[in-house]
């Protein structure tokens, strides 16, 4: 299958299974990066930052970004349309049974299972992002592989102290300033990265 078709099917799958909004697409994106190598965890971080600081729903922004990186402007459009296609079909069907759907016990039970699971999926996907930001060795798996020689020693050596310092400053800013917009945080972090030579 060509990259373009693979991109469309992967995003259709994401649109079909990512329940709970934009953040729920992150585990699927991480899976794509691991499986096809279309982009790295670092790029995923950049995508999240750009998606948070530009208009529009985050999930849609990330689909366009991944699509563009993989197959150019046509990829951006294709990935976005594939992402929304399943939900358009599903919503058009549900719209005819709105009341029944709203009160259906089965739906509530399924959702009760999905909600906490999505937190787990997103957290797992974020682990890679946290590790790539704060450690020099960029993947959780690689640290885990060192378990015989001592995970802790290996991890301590690979801590990026400048990144930790920057994170502490950002955290302080967030605590100190009420209703801080993500864009401000992202701009400050970019300036900090340049100043510290991260």
């Amino acid at each position: 299958m060509s990259n373009f078709w693979l991109l469309l099917t992967e995003f259709f799958k994401t649109g079909l299974f990512a329940v709970g909004g934009g953040l729920a697409t992150i585990p699927f994106l991480r899976e794509m990066s691991a499986e096809y190598g279309w982009f790295t965890v670092e790029t995923l971080s950049t995508m999240i930052a750009v998606s948070e600081s530009t208009p529009g729903p985050i999930g849609v922004n990330m689909a366009t970004y991944v699509g563009y990186m993989t197959a150019g402007p046509a990829g951006g459009i294709g990935a976005t349309l594939s992402l929304v296609a399943p939900s358009v079909i599903i919503i058009c069907i549900i719209a005819n049974y709105l009341q029944k759907f709203k009160e259906a016990k089965a739906v509530k039970m399924i959702f009760a299972g999905l909600k906490p699971a999505v937190v787990g999926f997103v957290m797992a996907a974020c682990l890679d992002i946290f590790i790539s930001a704060l450690l020099y060795k960029n993947s959780f798996d690689r640290i885990w592989q060192q378990k015989d020689t001592g995970v802790l020693g290996y991890a301590a050596e690979s801590v990026n102290w400048k990144a930790i310092l920057l994170l502490a400053v950002l955290f302080g800013m967030q605590k100190g300033i009420k209703k801080l917009h993500p864009i401000v945080l992202i701009l400050v972090s970019a300036a900090g990265g340049i100043l510290l030579g991260l």
Partner: protein, 181 residues
């Protein structure tokens, strides 16, 4: 035709002027959909949001699809959906092009490495609010732990795990281990 165009442009505007999607879009929806066009009442919008959350896909997009469908059937649903995603496609395509072209520069590299720190914090905040909204009892905590463990330590695809979580939700709700109302 006029209505389709209106649906497209109104949702284009809402996509263009909100950052972050989801609940961040509510004030814009309030102004455009409820007050300006009268396409839905506030209660209806809350219903669409509630359902958009427990159906697959992006919540803001699902809401657009609902509003469009009730105004003009399937063509309306498509017009509204295309409207809400169009600004993202245009803006992100430009930015992704820029970043790709300049990402070799050392200065840009340092900046992007710094941005990873902000992303950590933003994701941490997002996870915390997801946690507060979703994990209220032991049953939910168990499902969270299982899904986290399986994602980290196995290669099972997220799609399969989503299906398993749905089944687990039904089984545990019936057994009384999960609150679902």
């Amino acid at each position: 035709m006029k209505l389709l165009l209106q649906l497209y442009t109104a949702w284009f505007k809402m996509g263009l002027f909100t950052f972050g999607g989801g609940y961040a879009m509510l004030p814009m929806i309030q102004r455009e959909v409820i007050e300006k066009y009268g396409w839905a009442t506030e209660e209806e919008i809350m219903d669409y949001y509630a359902i958009g959350q427990c159906t697959p896909g992006i919540i803001a997009v699902n809401t657009a699809t609902f509003v469009g469908y009730y105004q003009k059937g399937i063509p309306g649903a498509i017009a509204a959906t295309l409207g809400v995603v169009s600004p993202s496609v245009l803006i992100i395509t430009m930015i992704a092009g820029l970043i790709t072209n300049f990402s070799e520069l050392t200065l840009v590299q340092h900046g992007l490495n710094g941005v990873k720190g902000a992303v950590c914090l933003l994701m941490f905040n997002a996870l915390r609010s997801l946690w507060k909204k979703s994990i209220h009892n032991i049953g939910a905590l168990c499902i969270f732990g299982i899904s986290l463990g399986m994602s980290v330590f196995t290669d099972i695809s997220t799609a399969v795990m989503v299906l398993l979580a749905g089944v687990l939700g039904v089984v545990m709700s019936k057994a009384g281990g999960l609150r679902y109302e």
